[in-house]
Amino acid sequence: MDNLFVYCEVEDGVVADVSLELLTKGRSLANELKCQLEAVIIGANLKDIEKQVIPYGADMVHIIDDPRLAPYTTAPHAAVLIKLFHEEKPQIALMGATPIGRDLGPRVSSALHSGLTADCTSLEIGDHEDKKAGKTYKNLLYQIRPAFGGNIIAWIINPDCRPQMATVREGVMRKQIININYPSKVNHLEVSKYVSDTDFAVQIIERHLEKRKINIKGASIVVSGGYGVGSKENFKLLYELADVLGAEVGASRAAVDAGYAEHERQIGQTGITVRPKLYIACGISGQVQHRAGMEESAQIISINTDPDAPINSLADYVITGDISEIVPKMIKYYKQNTK
């Protein structure tokens, strides 16, 4: 009772990175709350799957294994979580803000009448005083996220309803193995007790998944373009610079929405989070949601015609000028001075 649960996604026998990142964060929150960390894995062909999550410090791993449970469909996964949460009464439940998490999270939270906060950029434990009601709440989960398309950060809480649910995007938290031989218990759930035939009315007829071709998350240098780049054509300059530096190319949401770059390259609260050793921001104004995706970069260069662009206050180097002038110079110098 009162433990912290993490729903773990599996694709092709591999537990998703976002789930491992949440287990790591869950472990540290559970330590603070002095409660247990429990993982839930729902799918098919899950032999030995617990070995992938145990090293991250899960005290208990609940596994439910049935051919009908993969690939993911809403009803059976929701049925398992709803019933399990009714039994186990967790205080907190976390899942990745992925197409699965965003489909499953609200379904479960609605059934349990619990609050859900999407796309959190930070999770903390703290107290809350409701002066009107004269109540004090201790050890609540602060669900922190930028809000409302502007420079606002909101702290959201669920004082009364349980579990307190939150979704977090991949890369926001860092994964870390704490002990390969962590003393975990495994609980195999019996399928028939959790799902029924009516849960399988929705059927997947075909699936075409592409392995990610672009690995921006792992790049040590990122050249990123914003709305200020101006066009898909102009983005070619950034690709050239990236090519020369051995970097990956990213984009702000504004640039993606305007069609200058593919959605897969979007960096920010609703895209990818990166922590490269160098982030070169080209024509990016730097709204809060973008900064949330790159502010932990070791070094940041901002190239912008606007000397007062918000991103400049994050940058180590601010170059005020036009990308079409500056980037070619960077490329030229680099080519001339390295092998």
Binding site: F148, N151, N158, I204, I205, N312, D322
Partner: protein, 291 residues
């Protein structure tokens, strides 16, 4: 086959896509009043999918349901101009302060008053909240299946729908029986533009409240043209448990909001002059950040 009864869930939202400098107040907060109010983009994609089913299957009706303040009637008119058959504005002070759960509860109770339906379509998420929660929560409360991230409806049959989903890393073809709720991505086709004939037909469509506030000139129309009535539903028209509405009915509460005031770092400032760029590149290469 018989026409489908389709409900489109839509929301009027401030246009947060391009929050320029004018929208930012001196203390760092957003000046909502300055942002234009629009039909949430992905809800327009949802409307288009509904209209395409109507094109294909005669007898299909498309009704827009929106929860919001009085001016949200604007998006119902917008939907009528594009081909919707009618609209309902769910509006009441009692809904103020609703989080996604309280919102989906109110919508669900309103839908129960609207009679039998076959399909509900909603945009995947609204550009102000960005949570993508209301669609699935409404489906759960109605006890019907949901399919999210839909980009196209491939086939409509008595036994159900076949749809294509666009996910982060690929596509799925999924089939499900009716009744069903779909949430629709921006990768779905753009909504058709306003139809001139429909614009002429519906330009005086109003809710009762709007008529009360408006000039007398067109009031005579409403008796002879019932299609100009945009139905308003308040708390009195839906069976709702009061403490599940509004702020009281919202499990999530905002504890605190912080205006992000950026602390300027000690940044090195350069211009596009050759010397500055060369020095920068030299520094980065020497410290092994690049090269």
């Amino acid at each position: 086959m018989k026409g489908l009864r389709i409900i489109v869930l839509a929301k009027q939202v401030p246009d947060t896509r391009n929050v320029g400098k004018d929208a930012m107040k001196a203390d760092g907060t957003v000046n909502r009043a300055v942002l234009p109010a629009i039909f949430n983009p992905e809800d327009l994609n949802a409307l288009e999918l509904a209209l395409r089913v109507k094109d294909e299957i005669p007898g299909t009706t498309v009704t827009i349901l929106t929860m919001g303040p009085g001016r949200a009637a604007e998006i119902i008119r917008e939907g009528l101009y594009r081909g919707a058959d009618g609209g309902i504005l769910l509006t009441d002070r009692a809904f103020a302060g609703s989080d996604t759960l309280a919102t989906s509860y109110a919508l669900c109770q309103a839908i129960k008053e609207m009679g039998k339906f076959d399909l509900i379509v909603a945009g995947r998420q609204a550009i102000d909240g960005d949570t993508a929660q209301v669609g699935p929560q409404v489906a759960e409360k109605l006890g019907i299946n949901q399919i999210t991230y839909v980009e196209a409806i491939l086939q409509v049959e008595k036994s159900g729908l076949k749809v294509r989903r666009r996910l982060d890393n690929g596509v799925e073809t999924v089939k499900a029986p009716l009744p069903l709720l779909l949430t629709v991505n921006s990768s779905a086709p753009d909504c058709r533009s306003r139809n001139a004939k429909l614009l002429m037909k519906y330009k005086h469509a109003r809710t009762v409240t709007e008529r009360q506030n408006a000039a007398e000139d067109y009031l005579y129309l409403y008796d002879s043209r019932p299609f100009l009535n945009i139905h308003e539903m308040t708390v009195n028209e839906i069976q709702a448990i009061p403490d599940q509405l509004g702020l009281t009915g919202s499990p999530t509460k905002v504890k605190r909001i912080e205006n992000v005031i950026l602390q300027a770092k000690d940044a090195k400032r350069l211009t596009a002059a050759d010397e500055g760029i060369n020095d920068l590149m030299k520094e980065l290469i020497e410290s092994h950040v690049i090269g």
